[in-house]
C-alpha cells in the first residue's frame, strides 16, 4: 500500500518541526528519509505511525486519511519500529514479538493457532527462532533490533515505518538488518543516518532540511555534492561503488563544507587538499 504525505505540518514540544512536508512512499518500495539531526525525520515518521497528530496536512494510506481510521485499524496496516528501547520488565523475545498481534486481539482473548503461526514465522524471518525464551534486555543491540523488526512483521502490516533502525549497530548487523528490509518487499519508510546505506538500500530518497523536503528522487539523482554541502554541510564526492555499482559518497572528514577558504574542488583534489595534509 502506498503512503502519501501532503503538506504536513507537525509541532512537537511546542515547536513546529515539520512544516509543509510532502512525499510519496510507493507500493513495495523502500523509501528513505535522510537529513541532518533535527531536520524533522523522526517527527514526520511519528506522525505516520500516529504517535503525533499533525497541525495541518494529511497522511494518506492508499488514499485514505490515516486519522480517519481508529488507532487499532491503523495499526493493522502500519507497523513501527521506533527508537525507544523499553524498560526492563522480564519480557522474553517471544513475548515481545507476540505484542505485534495486539491490534488484532480483543480484551481477554488468548493466542490462537493463527497468532502462534504468525509469531513463529516473524521470528524465523529475522533468524531469531532459536532465542524465543531469552530475556529481551539481555540481547545484543543487533539481536534486539531484529526482534523488534519481527514484532513489526507479526503485525502483518502493509507499511513498515522504521526510525534509524541501524543506530548503535556494528556494521555487520547494519548490513543484516537492511538486507531483511530489502527481502521483505513491503512498502517501507525508513529514516537513515548513513547516506551510503540509504543510497544502497532505498529505491527513492527524500531529503529533509528544517522540516521541509528539499529533494526527492532516486539516490543517484538526489545525493549530489552541492546538496550534500548545502543540507549536510559536508564536502563530498559521489563515485560508483566498486563492488555494487551503487552511488558511493566519499566524505572529506577533515573540514566541513562551509570551512573558511576551502574551495569545493574536483573529485581528484579531495584527498590532497585541506589543512590536514602536513600530518601525513
Amino acid at each position: 500500500m502506498r503512503i502519501e504525505i501532503e503538506n504536513l505540518h507537525v509541532a512537537y514540544a511546542g515547536r513546529t518541526v515539520v512544516s509543509g512536508a510532502g512525499l510519496i512512499a510507493a507500493d513495495g518500495e523502500i523509501t528513505g528519509l535522510v537529513g541532518p539531526n533535527g531536520s524533522g525525520k523522526s517527527t514526520l515518521l511519528r506522525t505516520v505511525y500516529r504517535h503525533l497528530k499533525p497541525v495541518a496536512g494529511r497522511v494518506l494510506l492508499a488514499g485514505t486519511d490515516l486519522r480517519r481510521l481508529s488507532p487499532v485499524e491503523a495499526a493493522r496496516h502500519v507497523a513501527a519500529l521506533p527508537q525507544e528501547r523499553g524498560g526492563d520488565f522480564e519480557l522474553t523475545v517471544r513475548e515481545v514479538v507476540a505484542m505485534g498481534r495486539t491490534p488484532y486481539k480483543r480484551a481477554f482473548a488468548g493466542e490462537d493457532a493463527a497468532d502462534r503461526d504468525v509469531v513463529a514465522r516473524a521470528l524465523a524471518d529475522v533468524g531469531m527462532e532459536g532465542h524465543t525464551g531469552r530475556r529481551f534486555t539481555e540481547l545484543s543491540g543487533g539481536e534486539r533490533q531484529r526482534v523488534l523488526l519481527a514484532r513489526a512483521f507479526a503485525q502483518e502490516p502493509d507499511v513498515l515505518v522504521l526510525d534509524e533502525p541501524t543506530n548503535h549497530l556494528d556494521i555487520r548487523h547494519q548490513v543484516e538488518l537492511l538486507a531483511l528490509l530489502r527481502a521483505g518487499r513491503r512498502t517501507t519508510l525508513v529514516s537513515l543516518h548513513d547516506l551510503n546505506a540509504a543510497a544502497s538500500v532505498c529505491d527513492r530518497l527524500h531529503v529533509l532540511h528544517d522540516g521541509h523536503v528539499v529533494a526527492s528522487g532516486p539516490p543517484r539523482e538526489v545525493l549530489r555534492p552541492a546538496l550534500l554541502a548545502e543540507v549536510f554541510g559536508v564536502r563530498a564526492t559521489v563515485v560508483d561503488h566498486p563492488l555494487t555499482g551503487d552511488p558511493l559518497i566519499a566524505f572529506d572528514h577533515r573540514a566541513p563544507a562551509d570551512g573558511a577558504g576551502i574551495p569545493l574542488s574536483a573529485p581528484g583534489d579531495v584527498l590532497g587538499a585541506g589543512p590536514g595534509r602536513s600530518l601525513r
Binding site: 507497523a79 525507544e84 505484542m99 480484551a107 488468548g110 531469552r134 539481555e138
Partner: protein, 364 residues
C-alpha cells in the same frame, strides 16, 4: 554458518558466570491453581491459629453455619472465627491482592519495574487524612473505624487531584514528571503528618497513629471489607482487559502508538485507577510497605513480564503473602501484636536489595 556459530558463542561467553538463558518453564495456569490452594490453606490457618486455636473442622463448621443461614452456635468459637479472625484474614487477602495488582499497574504506568504505588504521594495524603482524623478526634476510639477510613480516602482523593494538576502536561503524564510530582507532594504531606503526630494529645493517640502509619490489619471488620471487596476485583478485571496494552506501554509510548494503543489515554486511566485503589487500600489498612513493590517483581521472575499472566498471579501471590505475614504478626509475640508493615519491611528490604543486586549484576 561459521560466522553464526562464532556469534552464538560470543553471546554465550557474555553470559558466563550468570544464569543460563531461561525459557519460562512455569506455566501460569497450574501456578495460579497452586497459589489458590495455598491461599485457601493459609486462610484456614489464619482463622484457626492464634491465642485460642480453633481446629480447622470447627472453623469450617462455623463458617458453613453462617453461610447457610443457620443460627450460629453460641460460644466463643463463633465470636473468634466469624467476628474476629475471618474478616481479618479476608482483609489481609484482599489488601494483599490489591497491593499486588496496584504495584503491577503502577510499574507499567511509570515504566519502572521498581516503582511503588506510594511513589505518587497518594498514601501520604491518605495517612495525613487518617492522622488528622485521629488527632482531631474524628476517629472512633483506638480501632480503625469507618470514619477513619473515610478520612484517609478523602486524603487520598485530594492528593490525587493535586498530583494530577501538578503533573499534567499537554493532556498527558510523562512518567518522570508524574513520579517527581508524586514524590514531592508526598514528602510535603508527610511533613504535615509528622507535625500532627507531635501534636497528638496523649500516648494512646500517638500509639494508634503510629500503628496506623506502619500499616495494620487489626481494624478488620465485615463493614470494612466492603470497599476493597469491590475495588480489588473491579480493578483487576479492568487491567486484565487491557493486559496487552500494558505490555505495549512498558516498551514505550511510541511503540504503544504503533500497536494501536493510545498511551496518553491509557496512562491517564491507569493513574486514576491505581490512585483510587491505593486510596481504598490505605484507608482500610494503612500504608503497608514493600508488598506492592515486591510482589509483581517476584512474580515476574517466575511467570515473566506478560501482564496477561502477571496480573492474576500477582493478585494471588499478594493475597497469600499478606495472609501469611499477618499470621506471623499475630502470633510472633505473646504480649503484643506486630504491625503488619513492620514485618513486610523486614522481609521486603533485604528482598529488594537482592533484586537490585541481581539487576545490576546482570548488566542490563
Amino acid at each position: 554458518m561459521i560466522d553464526t556459530l562464532v556469534r552464538r558463542k560470543g553471546t554465550q561467553d557474555r553470559r558466563d558466570g550468570q544464569e543460563p538463558a531461561r525459557t519460562r518453564s512455569v506455566p501460569a495456569a497450574p501456578l495460579a491453581l497452586a497459589l489458590t490452594v495455598a491461599l485457601l490453606a493459609a486462610l484456614t490457618a489464619a482463622v484457626s491459629w492464634g491465642s485460642t486455636s480453633v481446629p480447622a473442622h470447627e472453623m469450617w463448621s462455623v463458617v458453613w453455619r453462617r453461610l447457610s443461614g443457620e443460627a450460629p452456635r453460641p460460644g466463643t468459637d463463633d465470636l473468634i472465627v466469624w467476628q474476629l479472625r475471618l474478616p481479618r484474614a479476608l482483609l489481609a487477602a484482599l489488601v494483599g491482592a490489591g497491593l499486588g495488582v496496584v504495584g503491577t499497574a503502577m510499574q507499567a504506568l511509570v515504566r519502572n519495574p521498581l516503582a511503588d504505588p506510594y511513589f505518587l504521594g497518594i498514601s501520604n495524603g491518605a495517612s495525613l487524612g487518617a492522622v488528622a482524623a485521629i488527632v482531631l478526634g474524628l476517629g472512633t476510639g483506638g480501632a480503625l473505624g469507618l470514619g477513619l477510613s473515610g478520612a484517609a480516602f478523602a486524603g487520598a482523593l485530594a492528593t490525587f487531584a493535586l498530583v494530577w494538576a501538578v503533573a499534567r502536561r499537554r493532556g498527558g503524564f510523562a512518567p518522570l514528571r508524574l513520579v517527581l510530582a508524586g514524590v514531592a507532594i508526598g514528602q510535603f504531606l508527610s511533613g504535615f503528618t509528622s507535625y500532627l503526630v507531635l501534636q497528638a494529645g496523649d500516648e494512646q493517640q500517638t500509639h494508634s497513629v503510629l500503628f496506623w502509619l506502619m500499616g495494620s490489619l487489626s481494624g478488620a471488620s465485615w463493614p470494612l471489607l466492603a470497599a476493597p471487596a469491590v475495588a480489588v476485583p473491579v480493578t483487576l478485571l479492568w487491567l486484565q482487559a487491557r493486559a496487552r496494552a500494558l505490555n505495549a506501554l512498558i516498551m514505550g509510548d511510541e511503540t504503544a502508538s504503533g500497536l494501536g494503543v493510545d498511551a496518553t489515554r491509557l496512562r491517564r486511566e491507569l493513574f486514576t485507577l491505581t490512585s483510587l485503589l491505593t486510596g481504598v487500600l490505605v484507608a482500610v489498612s494503612g500504608a503497608i510497605a514493600f508488598v506492592a513493590l515486591m510482589v509483581p517483581h517476584a512474580c515476574r521472575l517466575v511467570v515473566g513480564g506478560d501482564h496477561r499472566r502477571l496480573l492474576p498471579v500477582s493478585a494471588l501471590f499478594g493475597a497469600l503473602l499478606l495472609v501469611v505475614v499477618d499470621i506471623v504478626c499475630r502470633t510472633a509475640m505473646d504480649t503484643q501484636e506486630l504491625p503488619v508493615g513492620v514485618v513486610t519491611s523486614l522481609i521486603g528490604a533485604p528482598a529488594l536489595l537482592y533484586l537490585l543486586d541481581r539487576r545490576l549484576g546482570s548488566g542490563s
